[in-house]
């Protein structure tokens, strides 16, 4: 009898179980990988102070950064897709990331090398303004083919990047600009701002029902007494905050905000209340795997994590794009 219940629970919740166990396993694996191979369970149990120090000051922050950036971007994409009712929207397909980069560049030119928090504020303000501009323009255009919107978003992002490049060229900051975009968890210095992401993560769980209702449409929201514009603005603020702090801390992580929500909502559905934590952890699983690959292929050196994510994520994105077109699910509403 009890066994039957366990089987039933597992049948219904196996995805959740899988995501959570995978997360635990990958988290530990991530902590155990690094140039100092002496950091292992044995040395840690022995209470080796040096090993513990490496663990706490190097390994743990890095792994936490992976988890926070990945969960944050997954949720940012999820909220953006709910708000725009478009499965192809994400911070990297709407110019948000590019605007964050421009903000960082302006901070660098105006203030020189400034603390990470100042850079984050600049990146946040630019990302927010750019996202508001983009979403209001898209709403006015009333485009029905959903595939066009991320395409326009990418062009818009390209435009912002071009402006950044022009400015960087003028102020001889090209190298700085290029280094911003390269996603890597091996950076030092700017790392601490990644912890800002915990705030939007927490708020997004708290407001998940409101975001789901907004996703049902404006009339639907108003009927239930939800202030549509206010919640949309709030959502975009969270998205900009996540994008800015993750960009400043670890650089660009392409595709995460796009593919993670798509991979999960196809079986969890669009009710964020039920799925938001799972989506965070699934995003973390994905980036942890990519990060582990990046650190192992040329061990003890590592390649940029955005390279690995681009390869894996690009393929998955292509599959979704082609499947979306084939199933005729490319129209909004």
């Amino acid at each position: 009898m009890r066994l039957e219940l366990v089987v039933k629970f597992f049948k219904r919740q196996y995805r959740r179980v899988l995501i959570y166990t995978l997360f635990a396993a990958l988290f530990v694996t991530s902590l155990m990988i690094g140039a100092v191979t002496d950091v292992n369970f044995e040395s840690l149990f022995r209470g080796d102070e040096l090993m513990w120090s490496i663990m706490i000051h190097s390994r743990l922050p890095r792994t936490l950064a992976v988890v926070l950036a990945a969960s944050g971007l997954s949720v940012a994409g999820l909220i953006m897709q709910a708000i725009s009712r478009n499965k192809f929207m994400s911070p990297s397909t709407s110019g948000t990331t590019n605007a964050a980069s421009l903000g960082m560049l302006i901070a660098y030119i105006a203030l020189g090398t400034s603390p990470a928090i100042i850079q984050t504020i600049f990146a946040f303000v630019f990302a927010l303004i750019s996202t508001l501009l983009f979403t209001s323009v898209i709403n006015k255009l009333k485009i029905r083919e959903v595939v066009y919107i991320p395409l326009i978003g990418m062009m818009y992002g390209g435009l912002i990047s071009a402006i950044s490049t022009a400015i960087a060229y003028r102020y001889e900051a090209m190298q700085i600009l290029n280094s911003f975009g390269l996603g890597s968890f091996a950076r030092v210095g700017n790392f601490s701002v990644i912890y800002i992401i915990t705030v939007p993560l927490f708020l997004s769980v708290l407001f998940s029902t409101k975001f789901s209702i907004i996703g049902m449409g404006e009339d639907f929201s108003k009927n239930l007494g939800v202030n549509y514009n206010k919640v949309v603005f709030f959502g975009l603020t969270l998205i900009a905050l996540v994008s800015a702090s993750s960009f400043v801390a670890v650089g660009g992580l392409p595709f995460i905000g796009l593919i993670i929500p798509n991979m999960t909502t196809s079986f969890y559905g669009d009710n964020l209340k039920r799925s938001i934590v799972d989506i965070m952890l699934f995003g973390a699983d994905f980036v942890l795997i990519c990060d582990i690959i990046s650190r192992l292929v040329i061990f003890p050196f590592e390649i940029s994590v955005s390279l690995t994510i681009s390869v894996v994520g690009g393929i998955i994105f292509m599959i979704y794009l082609i499947r979306g077109i084939r199933h005729g699910k490319t129209k909004t509403r």
């Binding site: 998940s208 449409g217 009927n223 239930l224 007494g225 939800v226 559905g269």
Partner: protein, 300 residues
């Protein structure tokens, strides 16, 4: 009681609502009818604060709706616009739970959960409660949305073309359910209906709109008459009685005239106008049909 006073609304230059005043009859079904672009849906939107208005007031039991919090209104007035977002993957039970949002803000108490179960039972949705709404048939999906409105537990329910995209069987089923809302649950219902015969068969009161104004209102049996309807729809109606209900015949008047079926006393007037209006009516009818097709394609 809901009372609308001198409401104006316009898009660009065209006036959509031009000084509409109305008192909604309690515990009854009121159908708003009229030609395309007469302002029916806009009126519904304005009364339910879904759409803004330029001037005018809507009172609910003496309170001006502009001064009441949107979330409080959501406990008194529920509104469902034409069937929405079809590619949202949300299951039926979760959709119905949204109806409790005005009361609990998303964290459902036991009482809220009981209301959700009641609504699911009432709309006969228990068997498909775990299905995603994008997997349902048109009729089931509409029932799911109505169940959400029911869970919202409001004395007033406004429905914008609830029969849109439903076939005849589901349309009749839907109107019967709406009738039960009034007789069993004591609700007050306002509908925008495209098909005048559904209004004639199921509504208690009819509000007819033309060019943003109320062209006539009254009990259904008084309103369904050629004198009134001809003016509202710019079309010639023939009314027959069947089982104590009035039915409008409005298909191709000319052929019926030839077969001697058209025997109304206003016919002399009709003949004099008929020659020059015929071509216009025909063209209009075609245009409207195209519109419908287009509209449907957009909603997919």
């Amino acid at each position: 009681m809901i009372e609308i006073k001198d409401v104006h609304q316009s898009y660009g230059k065209g006036k959509v609502l031009d000084g509409v005043s109305l008192r909604i009859k309690e515990n009854a079904i009121t159908a708003i009818v009229g030609a395309n672009g007469a302002g029916k849906s806009t009126l519904l939107g304005v009364i339910t604060r879904i759409l803004p208005m330029i001037s005018g007031e809507v009172f609910w039991d003496g309170f001006n709706l502009k001064q009441v919090k949107s979330r409080e209104i959501a406990k008194k007035i529920a509104v469902l616009k034409q069937t929405q977002s079809l590619n949202i993957r949300i299951n039926v039970a979760d959709l119905v739970e949204f109806g409790r949002f005005p009361y609990c803000g998303g964290r459902l108490s036991d009482a809220d959960k009981a209301k959700v179960e009641q609504a699911l039972d009432y709309m006969d949705l228990q068997l498909i409660r775990d299905k995603f709404i994008d997997e349902l048939s048109g009729g089931q999906r509409q029932r799911a949305f109505i169940a959400m409105i029911l869970a919202q537990d409001t004395p007033y329910i406004f429905l914008d073309e609830p029969l849109n995209n439903l076939d005849i069987k589901y349309s009749v089923e839907m109107m019967k359910i709406i009738r039960k809302f009034v007789t069993e649950l004591g609700k007050t219902i306002v509908l925008v209906l495209h098909d005048i015969n559904f209004a004639a068969a199921y509504a208690d009161y009819i509000v007819a709109m033309k060019d943003g104004k109320i062209a006539g209102e009254g009990p259904v049996l008084d309103m369904i008459s050629p004198e009134i309807l001809n003016g509202i729809f710019d079309h010639n109606f023939h009314i027959v009685e069947h089982d104590g209900k009035k039915v409008c015949l409005y298909y191709d008047n000319e052929s019926r005239r030839k077969h001697g079926g058209y025997t109304h006393n206003h016919d002399s007037e009709h003949v004099s106008r008929h020659g020059d209006e015929h071509a216009h009516n025909r063209g209009d009818g075609f245009a409207r049909r195209n519109d419908d097709k287009k509209g449907r394609r957009h909603t997919v």
